[in-house]
């Protein structure tokens, strides 16, 4: 694939009412360029992952918008795929570099959500769903609640299992200064939090968030980064499924994620057991359980109890049988926050930092291979990337 990451940065995630999308992006791009050790003039194309700028902010045409802001006159475009917009923007950047058309590109993910009323945001997000779901008044918590119920019925998954995902990811976020919720929660707190869509409680759900992330991708693998380590993107796979959940054969799996991960493992020439660290799309706690199974880290029906036992938590390697796999060291969407267009890019940034060994207190020792799993809608789009330290 011949694509390396030269620089990677995320903003603080949270309610950033004092910061505009322009400033969010300027800051993360400046830091990424600084890390990359390249001049801005080396950037030959810009790919912007974003979902809601037009619906909520009244601003489309984000490619030219940010190119102008960054003082670049290069090909630039917005990539939209609901909550997988960021992952798709990375995929577009990888295609651009691996095709040989561009040598160095900038990938940005950005979303500004908290300036708007929650009901406006919920409605805008449902733009990612199917007609029938909108007509029925469904929201994404309701759709994932259906999946949770199905998983509970089929595999005996419990509400406590769901809660353990939130507990783990909040613990990881407590080690992440960029997280929206950098504090721990208990199983009891999750179970006692207000119900959003039964069985999902407030603390089973990822929040509405502002944030941005950026990457500099290049085909040149000569290490120019300050840490002198080469991190390659060795797989970039996308798959799609039906927009609505009603058309799917099974609610306990996301076919798009299964297919994207199979392709990714094939591209990388490795299997799930080779992954040391993963960032998966835990928009709701049930989503992480399903992701663990779709990505073949665990067999069907086995992920919930494994997570509950702490096998994918930092420090979990001592206890478990899952080799090196630690999941959502950033805090996941649940606790680091979910600025939808930025999430897929942030996942790559997190894995990049893990592989170069600069994750501080949340560092997975010896991490050499990482995976990201970014989902759009209720599973209509899935993007899987695999990163490897050379």
């Amino acid at each position: 694939m011949n694509v390396s990451i030269l620089g990677a940065s995320t903003s603080k995630f949270g309610e950033l009412w004092q910061t505009s999308p322009r400033d969010l992006v300027k800051d993360v791009v400046a830091e990424s360029i600084d890390q990359a050790g390249v001049t801005k003039s080396k950037i030959q194309a810009v790919f912007v992952g974003n979902m809601l700028s037009g619906t909520l902010g009244g601003q489309d045409h984000l490619g030219a918008f940010f190119a102008e802001e960054l003082g670049l006159s290069v090909p630039a475009m917005k990539i939209e795929g609901a909550c997988a917009s960021g992952g798709l923007a990375v995929h577009a950047g990888v295609l651009a570099v691996s095709s040989g058309l561009y040598e160095t590109v900038l990938v940005v993910g950005v979303e500004k959500m908290t300036d708007h009323k929650p009901e406006e945001v919920a409605k805008a997000l449902m733009g990612a769903g199917a007609d029938a779901e909108r007509e029925a008044g469904a929201t994404f918590p309701a759709l994932y609640a259906l999946m949770a119920r199905a998983h509970m019925q089929k595999y005996g998954t419990t509400e406590e299992h769901l809660a353990s995902v939130a507990v783990k990811n909040h613990y990881h976020a407590s080690l992440n200064s960029h997280a929206q919720f950098p504090f721990t929660v208990t199983i009891e707190q999750v179970l006692k939090s207000p119900t959003v869509a039964s069985p999902l409680k407030l603390l089973d759900c990822s929040p509405i968030t502002d944030g941005a992330a950026a990457l500099i991708l290049t085909k040149n693998q000569v290490p120019r980064t300050k840490n002198k380590k080469v991190i390659n993107i060795v797989a970039s796979a996308v798959a799609t499924d039906t927009l609505g959940v009603a058309q799917r054969e099974d609610l306990t799996t996301l076919k798009a994620a299964v297919n994207a991960s199979k392709k990714a493992y094939e591209q990388a020439g490795i299997g799930p057991k080779d992954i040391d660290v993963a960032e998966v799309h835990d928009c709701f706690t049930i989503a992480e359980i399903i992701a663990m199974e779709d990505l073949e880290f665990f067999g069907k029906g086995e992920a919930a109890s494994a997570i509950n036992k702490g096998k994918t938590k930092l420090g979990g390697r001592k206890n478990g049988t899952t080799d090196n796999l630690i999941v959502n060291t950033s805090g996941g969407l649940k606790a680091v926050g979910h600025p939808v267009g930025a999430t897929g890019v942030k996942q790559i940034v997190e894995i990049y930092q893990q592989l170069i060994g600069q994750s501080g207190k949340k560092q997975v020792e010896g991490a050499a291979v990482g995976l990201t799993h970014n989902v759009g809608g209720s599973g209509a789009t899935a993007v899987v990337h695999i990163l490897k330290r050379e």
């Binding site: 309610e15 009412w17 004092q18 908290t114 300036d115 009323k117 929650p118 207000p194 119900t195």
Partner: protein
Amino acid sequence: MSVAIQGFGVYVPKYRIKVADIAGVWGKNAIEIEKSLGLLEKSVAAPDEDSVTQAFEAARLAIISANITPTSIDVCFVGSESHPYAVNPTSTIIAEFLGIGRNYLSVDLQFACKAATAGIIAISGLIASGKASFGLIVGTDTAQAKPHDILEYTASSAAAACILGKDSDRGLATIIETSSYSSDTPDFWRRDGVKYPTHGGRFTGEPAYFTHVIGAADLLLKKTKLSPSNFDYCIFHMPNGKFPRAVAKRLGFKDKQLAPSLIVEQIGNPYSASSLLGLTSVLQFAKPGQLIFMVSYGSGAGADGFVLKVGKGIIQKRKVVPQVDDFIKDKKYISYVQYLRFGGKI
């Protein structure tokens, strides 16, 4: 010349609706709502009541409390965000019925929940400069909320009025110092001709209520060179039961300093009357010489801070008119359907 509150009057309509009854209509968990908002019920104006009738009731008692003739009042200001008329002042209607005469300065004020406290500062200036002898200020609201909006649990109805005059032994409380903190922060608004207000959800918290209340409070502490431990009581605007508790804690006040003012638990948030009703609640127990720290808040946004010293007149004056607890205890529960009818929603 220092200025004092010479008389106080309140009015709380007798009807109440329980938070649990509103929550039940919308399929919400009542216990969760009560816990998250920190209140159990709110006051509701009767179908034949509005901000004018409430203001009149409170002002009438304030004049009795001050023991002055209505015609000695030179200024009549009414603060509200639910003036019944867009054009036609509430202040002249109540002045007419109170018998204030014709020789008075009158104006209606609007600044969300802090219009009345801004009026206190303005009238104090007129009295201190010798332009007026006595001024009447009323905060009154019949706050409306769109059904199923989170505001529906808290937006309530009540009025509070005070007579301001030169400081004297008869005073209820002397105004020692004031402060104000304002900015263009659109956290809550209602455009002309629109029936219900709109709010910015969580934006109403940190950048709005907390920034402005703390801004005014810090300025007040700096101006007076006092610290929270110097005060016997503190009062903060009560949009719900959580915000005043949180802001008091952040500023360094203790629960026992705040608790006597928390009328929100029983009657909700009557907007312009909220912080003043908190003050009247404190004045039911306060002793001469005690210090009170009060900060109001109005969306849009601004906060007014006051340091008040309780006067000797408090002992006598709280005997002559009904106190806020008398109104709070005199209540009759209504159903959600009656609540909709009382508010003209059906």
